[in-house]
């Protein structure tokens, strides 16, 4: 289970983006790379959220949550039709 990847939604504090980045998506990428060189980026969010979705192991998710500028790392959850 420790190595199995699942998707997570990562909410980022856009105002805390380091000055060296000009594009938020680059910052998101760099944040993801800083905790894993193989995790897949699934989506970036910019209109109804700031952040991205990625496939992570639980450990990677925990590490990412500690990164500067990361507000929350939420596991992808299943919703159902009503």
């Amino acid at each position: 289970a420790a190595t199995r990847r699942a998707s997570y939604i990562v909410h980022m504090a856009k105002t805390q983006m380091p000055a060296r980045f000009t594009e938020h998506s680059h910052w998101y990428d760099a944040s993801l790379r800083s905790i894993s060189d193989s995790a897949d980026m699934l989506y970036t969010y910019d209109t109804v959220a700031h952040g991205f979705a990625a496939r992570l192991t639980p450990a990677e998710a925990r590490n990412l949550a500690r990164r500067p500028g990361v507000l929350s790392v939420l596991p992808d959850t299943t919703y159902h039709l009503h």
Partner: protein
């Protein structure tokens, strides 16, 4: 959809917005299982050019050609599957379309309900005939496929909401939900908050986990949470027993009829080789025992239509499907593949007793087709999830109810009306039930209000729908809850049943801005990180010197939570809770007078409104008032309800009151 426009008073010639006067630029974005674009409900006759500001698109896919599939009605179609595939593995394209195409039916049903074009002579196999049309006839539709066979994943939903708002949708309709969770953990709540901030109204289904308490989904105050009620239409199918007695059920069966003379009847529990054979699960019926007979099955576990298929496969001639206590007297109709009817729990018990006691039990089923003008209606559907609001009890949910039972609307061409793989029938329209059907009704009504009042905020539109909702039948009796047979409470139907003709001219509205919701988040003790996660990192922090309170949120309804006295010494004490509200006059100058009523078992709530009269001298004027609720200490778990109305003689602006003691 058929019948619900008449039921909602939309069919009258003087439509809310005269057809010829405007071309609508309102776009309803539907997040669901996609779309079957060939349906006539997406015909774009009479619609003007696609709004210039629209940034959406119809994406091309193997079975989805934008040039053919999209037009001036269906102006957007996207799909989001990365989260789903990340968790469930690659989509099996032999079963699902990796495209905006709807292989399930749900998405075509909800999008056509919200804003489908008018299609005459619509029906399902001859049932529910009429002109099918969406609530917002002229609005445009954009679909965002986020739900797949294995479910709808929050990363896909958030991506779709991101795209929908960015594309330029004005209304988002989500007939889906998860469990009740903190708003900052709930991707729909997060997406909806920022959609709201962009002026987009987000309408969501309340859930089908009723009738138990606190079973709601989509509870954020910035979301319009929609429960389900019946309409005045039924599809009676009568069970006639050999002892001459008959019982009324419902069915949409169309095909070879049973003889009018009763034939042998057997209880499935006596025709099985398994412990739960009474449920008519696959492989549990003994063919020799059911061949040529009417089989009495009981609801539970597998789908109703599959039970019919099991009986048919075993050689049964018909099925009587009986509700259990869970569903009690709620009857939802199905297009069974054999003569079959669904009956209530009480009738089910009687027929079961007869089948078990009579030496030669017999029965037949007589199908009564479509009956309209059914009374009483609406009735709150048993399955409609109920309050209180498990996340923030001081915010009353659901917000309101709308038609959600036995609703006819567009359907996919990929599967039959039962969804069974063995169902080779293909229909243009299907009849299904759920808060998934009531949500797009409200989404469409919201689009109508947006057409009429383009400057109204999402909160204003929601307020107009809530404060004009009705809670009584024309004769004055309270709308019933089918689960109890008693009058429903605000925890069942929120502000009441949608009434679009009144909503377009509500008189006063309770408006709310994104800042108001941020103060609400402070009132529920959200940290700055949690607020940042919800509000796209607005650098907003709560002011420690400020006295935040949920009761200050300018919500169109009231949920007042009293604390039960703990010690015996202050048993006789009373508690007072004060709510503040500000109303905006959206009508002509007028003077409004307030009246308030409350009913609580075991006690009395005193209500004082200050000021009791509000005099508006111009449109757009805002005035504030406070309501003081004073109540004795009652046992924890006690509850009550009431109503606060402002009236100028022409407009009645009503707010539901719900009281709880904990």
């Amino acid at each position: 959809t058929t019948r619900t426009p008449e039921f909602l008073g939309l069919d009258v010639a003087d439509e809310l917005v005269p057809e010829s006067s405007t071309t609508s630029d309102v776009v309803v974005g539907v997040l669901d299982t996609g779309v079957w674009p060939e349906r006539n409900s997406f015909d774009d006759t009479g619609l003007g050019p696609i709004p210039a500001v629209w940034k959406g698109e119809c994406v091309a896919a193997k079975d989805f050609d934008p040039a053919k599939s999209c037009n001036r009605k269906l102006i957007g179609a996207r799909f989001f599957s990365k989260g789903y595939e990340s968790s469930m593995g690659p989509i099996d394209e032999s079963h699902e379309s990796k495209s905006p195409r709807d292989a399930d039916g749900h998405g075509t049903h909800t999008s056509t309900t919200a804003a489908g074009s008018a299609v005459s002579d619509a029906s399902l196999l001859g049932y529910a005939t009429g002109t099918a049309r969406g609530m917002a006839l002229r609005a445009r539709i954009a679909v965002y496929k986020v739900c797949w066979t294995g479910g709808c994943f929050s990363s896909d939903i958030l991506a779709a909401m991101d795209a929908a708002v960015n594309d330029g949708c004005h209304i988002l309709s989500l007939s889906l939900g998860g469990g009740a969770t903190d708003y900052y953990r709930d991707s729909v709540a997060i997406g909806a908050f920022n959609a709201m901030e962009s002026g987009v109204l987000v309408s969501c289904s309340a859930g089908n986990a009723g009738p138990g308490a606190a079973t709601l989904s989509n509870l954020a105050p910035w979301i319009t949470t929609v429960g389900a009620g019946t309409i005045d239409r039924d599809f009676p199918a009568y069970v006639v027993l050999g002892n001459g007695k008959n019982y009324t059920g419902v069915s949409l069966y169309s095909g070879k009829l049973l003889s009018s003379t009763p034939i042998p009847l057997i209880y499935a529990g006596n025709a099985t080789n398994s412990s739960n054979g009474n449920l008519c699960m696959p492989g549990t019926l003994v063919p020799e025992k059911v061949a040529g007979k009417v089989v009495l099955c009981e609801r539970g576990i597998n789908a109703r239509v599959q039970k019919g298929m099991v009986v048919k496969d075993a050689g049964g001639a018909g099925m009587v499907l009986a509700n259990t206590a869970t569903n009690s007297e709620e009857l939802v109709a199905d297009a069974h593949l054999l003569p079959a009817t669904l009956i209530g729990e009480k009738a089910g018990n009687v027929i079961k007793a007869y089948a078990l006691s009579d030496p030669n039990p017999t029965a037949t089923i007589i199908f009564g087709g479509t009956k309209v003008g059914v009374r009483p209606s609406p009735v709150v559907a048993a399955f409609s999830s109920r309050g209180p609001n498990a996340v923030t009890p001081e915010i009353l949910k659901p917000d309101l109810i709308a038609p959600g039972v036995n609703i006819l609307a567009g359907w996919t061409g990929a599967i039959g009306p039962t969804g069974l793989t063995t169902d080779s029938r293909r229909v243009e329209f299907n009849i299904i039930s759920g808060t998934s059907m009531s949500c797009p009704h409200v989404s469409g009504l919201a689009a109508l209000l947006k057409e009429e009042h383009p400057d109204w905020s999402p909160a204003a539109i929601k307020s107009a729908l809530m404060t004009t909702a009705y809670v009584t039948y024309p004769g004055g009796d309270g709308i019933l809850d089918i689960a109890t047979g008693q009058a429903a409470t605000p925890f069942d139907f929120g502000a009441g049943h949608a009434d679009p003709k009144s909503a377009v001219d509500p008189g006063l509205i309770y408006d709310l801005t994104p800042e108001d919701y941020l103060e609400f988040l402070c009132a529920i003790d959200y940290t700055s990180l949690q607020i940042a996660a919800i509000s796209k990192d607005r650098n907003y922090s709560c002011d420690a010197r400020k006295n935040y309170s949920v009761s200050k949120l300018n919500y169109p309804s009231f949920s007042v939570a009293f604390a039960t006295a703990s010690g015996s010494a202050d048993k006789g004490a009373t508690a007072t809770v004060v709510h503040e509200r500000t109303v905006t006059n959206v009508g002509p100058p007028a003077t409004y007078k307030s009246t308030a009523t409350a009913k609580v078992d075991g006690g009395e709530v005193q209500i004082s409104v200050e000021p009791a009269v509000l005099n508006f001298t111009e449109t757009g004027e805002k005035k504030s008032y406070t309501v003081k609720f004073t109540a004795p200490s009652l046992p924890s778990g006690s509850s009550g309800s009431g109503r606060l109305e402002w009236s100028d003689g022409k407009h009645t602006v009503a707010s539901a009151l719900a009281f709880t003691w904990t």
